[in-house]
Assembly symmetry: C2
Homo-oligomer: 233 residues x 2
DNA sequence: CGATCCGTTGACGGTACTCAACTACCGTGG
DNA sequence: CCACGGTAGTTGAGTACCGTCAACGGATCG
């Protein structure tokens, strides 16, 4: 029973709105009417604490959301892929910063106009509620990961979650983000990320080739991700 | 600048809806019309994965929300106090379990009736959106805490966040939850929690007396919580 | 009074961090 | 063309923080 829950958790695991595009059709159509911006890689285009005037959808590329401690320590709270929406949530300030990982194409939507739209399209608000709820679920999964999983388990979970988002290219996953980004996402250091990935590679669970990964033994990886060796529950 | 952000973060730090009662007045009034249940301490009254039929508000007592790994490892995602609302969020299954920490008095509200209510009270849905957003913010703060803070910093943050919720009794904070609960909340072990609290006590930051804590040196505790010793940023 | 649970304290060990060196891969410019 | 510098990733050695295991004290309860 908890096993099923764990699997479901991983499936929804991105702090991000898994397949938001499909689910938020009305919203997406809405966004299409608005300005599209191209941003080069490595630009912080949204700062924690700024007043939240817009929300965004990723058209192309990868974005990361993160928070900083005053001494520079960083936590990446999520990666965003095409179709994901962020900056929703009715706080008046953004509670994370956002930076482009790759060159990115974004559409942004002024929040100020939301109230008007709520009035016109009644389903919209509950769509947003659903999206934020999904983000919340993902964040809580991440809490489980950071609070109670080992480095190996974190890496395995991460790869499986990535695979769920990018199921194309014959199983090859593109690691668009740097090791530092992954480390800050998994609560580890770059060195540990590197080592752990190479252990997974060595054990035959994955194939590592530069920025690409392929999951070779999903079963073994899943077991790792759940911390279950060969024992039954 | 990041310092201000960090402080704001701690202020909102409970994965919980800080002072939801005040903010969600319409909602609270609504809930008052519904059944109230008393539950003894230590009962799991809501299971992760169950279909989410109701949402709840805490009238009295303390509740914890948690998730389990299949091998029994646990992460407490939040503590709930009187006035807090949970089980909102429009997922069809609960994504955490809930257990009473103390004897608790709850009101519960059938979700099925929400749609009808949305129609009648237009502000309601955006109230919910705001509550879920706040939960999300809290969860992301917890991600920062779990991913990038030391045991001492986590404990200090925890105490400060608790103090923000319970500002009564002349500064005495009631630790209704066990060390195990705190450990699962902070991603530590009970032993470490115990040790760290006693270090804080020894350094004069706090006063520990059984289940009660008083913050003696809020400044020092805040510095600890932020990881800033005496260096400027 | 024994049993159990919770919290504390101690000794020890391991996982992951720190520090450091080294490689590979860029793009730039001599 | 290759030297050069900068960045990203890998690898190694040593360390530290925190987890594990174990024992103990105090409270509650039957």
């Amino acid at each position: 029973m908890p096993r099923a829950a764990a699997i479901a958790a991983r499936r929804a695991a991105f702090p991000v709105i898994a397949h938001a595009k499909a689910k938020a059709d009305g919203l997406s159509r809405l966004l299409l009417a608005y300005t599209s911006r191209s941003i080069e890689a490595g630009k912080t285009f949204l700062h924690e604490g700024e007043s939240a005037t817009h929300f965004f959808t990723v058209m192309e590329g990868t974005v990361k959301l993160f928070k900083l401690l005053c001494d520079g320590r960083r936590a990446v709270t999520g990666f965003l892929f095409p179709g994901d929406i962020f900056g929703i949530g009715s706080e008046d300030k953004y509670n994370y910063s956002a930076e482009t990982v790759t060159p990115v194409n974004l559409r942004r939507f002024p929040r100020r106009q939301l109230d008007r739209l709520y009035f016109n399209s009644p389903g919209l608000e509950s769509q947003l509620l659903k999206l934020v709820s999904r983000e919340l679920t993902a964040a809580q999964d991440q809490i489980m990961l950071l609070g109670r999983m080992t480095a190996h388990e974190r890496a395995a979970s991460f790869l499986l979650a990535l695979a769920c988002r990018q199921s194309r290219d014959g199983g090859w996953i593109e690691l668009a983000m740097s090791r530092t980004d992954i480390a800050d996402y998994l609560g580890l250091t770059t060195e540990t990320v590197s080592r752990v990935l190479n252990v997974l590679k060595g054990s035959g669970c994955i194939v590592l080739a530069g920025n690409k990964v392929r999951i070779a033994d999903a079963g073994a990886l899943t077991q790792l991700a759940e911390g279950t060796g060969s024992d039954d529950d």
